[in-house]
């Protein structure tokens, strides 16, 4: 369970261009459910995701991950939580050019100190599960949009995280690829993963995979549907 209490995030505080992206959001996110944060651009979805995923600290409020309060932890601990608990699928694939698809997917596991052979085996298994096995040794710049998206999913799953965070995951996919992506998420949810997504794509928030849709606007929760 993730518990968010009165969380605020202000950018450029005290400067003329000060901007409050999140203005006091309280929310409980249950385990093994799929939640979508829905709202227009600039509504604060991505900021909220980055706060939940320990990528940034809130300006005010608290966030609990299970029983652990994470907002006041030093960077080292946040990184530790980030790489073991969360898997990220970004709006852009954010793959590192020049490396192969498999090398990209293995990157989050490198600093954990597991033997390379074990990580590679796990990576290849994920590639097979995501139907991109033959692309493992291809350079990422040769991949199609859909293939790149799957590589990012493999990368998000390499450390077997409990929670998958996906920010506008279908923004650059056509309808077929978007449906395939939601099917993959459905499978992951079936395996017990918690999914937290942001999107304004009906293919995502109307998908049967999704349990809960939270409407965000101007950094506040506007409404909620289950």
């Amino acid at each position: 369970m993730i518990r968010i209490v009165e969380v605020k995030k202000v950018f450029n505080a005290g400067k003329p261009n000060e901007f409050a992206a999140i203005q006091g959001i309280s929310l409980n996110l249950e385990d093994q459910k799929a939640t979508v944060l829905k709202g227009p651009s600039g509504s604060g979805k991505t900021t909220l995701l980055s706060l939940i995923g320990c990528m940034a600290r809130p300006t005010g409020g608290r966030i609990w991950l299970q029983e652990r309060e994470i907002t006041s932890l030093p960077e080292r601990f946040l990184t530790e939580i980030r790489r073991k608990t969360f898997g990220f699928v970004f709006q852009q694939p954010n793959l590192i050019k020049g490396l192969t698809a498999l090398e990209n997917a293995l990157l989050p596991a490198y600093p954990l100190g597991e033997p390379y052979g074990d990580i590679k085996k796990r990576g290849l298994r994920l590639f097979d599960l995501l139907d991109i096995g033959p692309k493992a040794q291809s350079k990422v710049e040769w991949l199609s949009g859909g293939e790149a998206q799957r590589v990012t999913i493999a990368r998000a799953l390499i450390n077997d995280p409990a929670i998958i965070i996906a920010d506008e995951p279908t923004a650059h996919l056509d309808t077929t690829r978007s449906r395939e992506f939601m099917d993959i998420l459905g499978r992951l949810k079936g395996e017990g993963k918690t999914l937290i997504l942001s999107s304004h794509d009906p293919l995502v928030f109307e998908s049967p995979v999704v349990d809960r849709v939270i409407q965000v606007r101007d950094g506040r929760i506007e409404s909620e549907t289950e």
Partner: protein, 377 residues
């Protein structure tokens, strides 16, 4: 412990894969880097080898030489001075030496003529250096004419030629008998070129030199250690001159390396952002950059040093010979034994590897401390 090693191995693995992406750019950098290390290491190895060669040579030289001076110039010294020197406590032996230079107008070269201590050369004959024999196209049994001090000609037969390995010492050397030497230069029997003094306890050398100066005020005392120091100074100076000449290219390289190492492209910054977002710590990124710096500088350092060693060992530093060894008509053909000095290699290592590696770390640290959510925005 195992996990730590695996972690470093994985990070190194990524670093190498990342470096191989920019093969051409990195290859050019390594090539220029290698060339600079090669030039610097060649100068250092070569000057050091010459210093050692000179030091080895001087091991056989007398501990002290006493020369007479008139108006600040070296003059022939009377053998009678020997008696005064031998009376000084601590002096083990003293003897007169006969040596000088002869200009051979046929080939335009200067020879060093010397009467050996062992008096092994029979009158009318001589032993010559390989360089002289080469220059005069002569072999054992051939006669060479010398013009004496009064204009007459004197023929000496070559009884022996020194092997080329002794080139540095013997290339221009001519060993002759005492009477031939005196006859050639018209030197009176009671005079010699200088005196060689041997002492019982080397620690007493400065004291004995002082006493000789007191007893024979018109002489100067030259200690072997002083000659060694002079050699060191000369070769260090020559090495320094060469490094000063090379400093332009070294500086250009430092600028290039600094720019490459410290100037981080947008692409590299983005990559660091991605790594941070997917769970790399700032320390992981810095370690990765550290490996990168080490990989590049070591790849350049090792071949650079090995090539420099080969350059000195196999070609006697053919590129720098004229500057470092000096010049002469009768130039010794000799190969230098390179001496590998650990402290010198360590100094080169610290000059070549450490600055580059450090230069790569600072900008990556600056890039790595940004919030990982930058990638999401």
């Amino acid at each position: 412990m195992g996990a730590r090693i695996e972690r470093q191995k994985n990070i190194l693995d990524y670093t190498l894969a990342a470096l191989l992406r920019r093969k051409r750019k990195n290859a050019v950098l390594v090539l220029v880097y290698t060339l600079i290390v090669f030039l610097l290491a060649s100068v250092v190895f070569f000057s050091r080898s010459l210093q050692r060669e000179a030091a080895d040579l001087l091991q056989g030289a007398p501990e002290m030489i006493v020369q007479r001076q008139v108006a600040g110039r070296h003059e022939l010294i009377p053998l009678a001075y020997l008696e005064k020197i031998k009376k000084i406590r601590g002096v083990q032996a003293a003897r007169g030496r006969l040596w000088g230079y002869y200009y051979d107008p046929v080939v335009g070269a200067n020879y060093t003529l010397l009467v050996p201590e062992s008096r092994e050369v029979a009158p009318g004959t001589m032993a010559v250096g390989e360089g002289l024999a080469r220059l005069r196209l002569s072999a054992v049994g051939d006669d060479i004419e010398f013009r004496t001090h009064d204009g007459s000609l004197k023929e000496l037969k070559i009884a022996r030629i020194f092997p080329a390995e002794l080139g540095l010492v013997s290339s221009d050397l001519v060993l002759v008998a005492e009477e031939d030497f005196r006859g050639l230069f018209g030197m009176p029997r009671e005079l010699v070129t200088d005196l060689a003094v041997q002492v019982r306890n080397p620690k007493e050398l400065p004291t004995i030199a002082y006493k000789i100066a007191e007893a024979l005020p018109d002489t100067r005392q030259i200690l072997r250690e002083e000659i060694l120091r002079t050699y060191d100074a000369v070769f260090n100076w020559r090495g320094g001159i060469l490094i000063a000449i090379l400093s332009g290219s070294v500086l250009a390289f430092i600028l290039l390396a600094w720019d490459k190492a410290s100037g981080m492209s947008m692409e590299e910054r983005r990559e660091i952002g991605v790594l941070k977002a997917i769970g790399w710590e700032t320390a992981d990124v810095i370690q990765m950059k550290c490996w990168e710096g080490l990989a590049i500088s070591l790849t350049a350092f090792l071949p650079g040093v090995l090539l420099a060693y080969a350059h000195v060992a196999l070609t006697s530093a053919g590129l720098f010979e004229p500057v470092l060894k000096g010049w002469a008509v009768l130039y010794p053909h000799f190969s230098i034994k390179p001496y590998l000095d650990v402290s010198q290699v360590a100094a080169l290592f610290f000059l070549a590897v450490v600055p580059y590696t450090v230069a790569t770390i600072i900008p990556s640290w600056r890039a790595a401390i940004v919030d990982p959510d930058a990638v999401m925005r």
